[in-house]
Amino acid sequence: MLQTLQNLDRRILYVTLVVLCSLFLFVPGELPVAVDKQTVDLYSKLMTVPTDKPVIIETDWTVSTRGENMGHLEALVRILMARKIKFAFFTATSEAPAVQVSRMVVDRINDERKKAGLYEYKPGEDYISVGLFPNTEGIQVAMGQDLRKAWGDRKVKTTTGDKGVFETAVMKNVGSIKDVSTMVIITASSTVDTAVERLSDKVDLTLMCTGVVGGTSLQYYPAQLKGMASGLKAGYEIEYMMRYGVNVPDAKGVVKVPADRPEQIPAITEGVTLDRASKYYLTLHVALVVLILAVVLGNVTMVMAKRTNGGAK
């Protein structure tokens, strides 16, 4: 038995992981969650920004981190569309597919709303895709100094043909970045670091990032970042708050998301709320349990081997 465990073929571990994670992807269910303070702050910020000012989204991720970032962007777009807030999104990374995946997400949410009979966002009128800027720090510096110059030469697609960014209904009243209600950075890399350095004193920054980036970005919260969602768990937390609100009692008087703040933040009352992150969250549980079991099993095997060999290494 001990020998078998010590010489366990790694392919067995791989198959176990694949089978369990794949199986639980198809198990529907809503899990409870204790929501982190920084995620509540992010949701609160998104739910309280004025509806007459646009939001800028810097979306710096590709399909490699879709498990985390795609859920983030979907939730963000759903919140903005439900609140009828105009938004502009751009990519500040050298990874070209980042623009395309973000466009696909916005188009898909729009289709989803159309099928549900909800208001469909129109390019140029309600949102614009500003495109790719491969020099992260360069564009962030330029945006901080003069947004009109930084984006001025770009043409964006609208329902009536291509137009300059500041000719669109989304950006026509924006003179500088200070006229934007908030800037949300969705990232899988350190592009948030330069954004904090270059823009945090000019616009309210919020962050939605992978769990890996979240570890090093937590130091910016709450001073430079007004809210942040880190990893898949935070993606699920956002969806959970979209469904239940914060400090809002349900019909039985139960508050699903209690938070240490006086006010109530309402739930989203239209469209889809629990979606991608909710589907992946159970699988995250399973993957973590498998990982913990692997560590425990590995250590038990080591201890047993030591005892069998009389303490010899």
Partner: protein, 116 residues
């Protein structure tokens, strides 16, 4: 391609967890303990269930101190008072080192590499 590469990491992590993550010293025990707490705190179902147990203890003993044993509270403490200061210290160190090296090059004291 990128998605495939990232997915493969999961297999290596699992294999390494089984074969290499061994408790052989105090340092590795501390690392294992904090990693375990953070991993458990990511599981909402578990944190809620454990939270109800802790709430029960708080109600029965009338002692709010036990609230500190909730998984999310411990994880928050680890992140706030251990992880974040460590990262800040590393970044300050890197920053000071960069300034010092810049000054050395500027003053002509650095003879190797870029100063040669």
């Amino acid at each position: 391609m990128e998605a495939a590469m990232f997915s493969i990491i999961a297999f290596y992590i699992l294999s390494a967890a089984f074969r290499a993550f061994r408790i052989r010293s105090v340092e590795s025990s501390v690392l294992m303990g904090s990693a375990l707490i953070l991993m458990l705190s990511l599981m909402g179902a578990l944190t809620q269930s454990w939270g109800h147990v802790v709430d029960g203890v708080v109600v029965s003993t009338h002692n709010g101190f036990f609230d500190n044993f909730k998984l999310e509270v411990i994880a928050e403490w680890v992140k706030k008072y251990m992880q974040t200061p460590s990262i800040r210290a590393i970044e300050f160190g890197v920053g000071l080192g960069t300034v010092a090296m810049g000054l050395r090059i500027w003053l002509g004291l650095e003879k190797g590499g870029g100063g040669a």
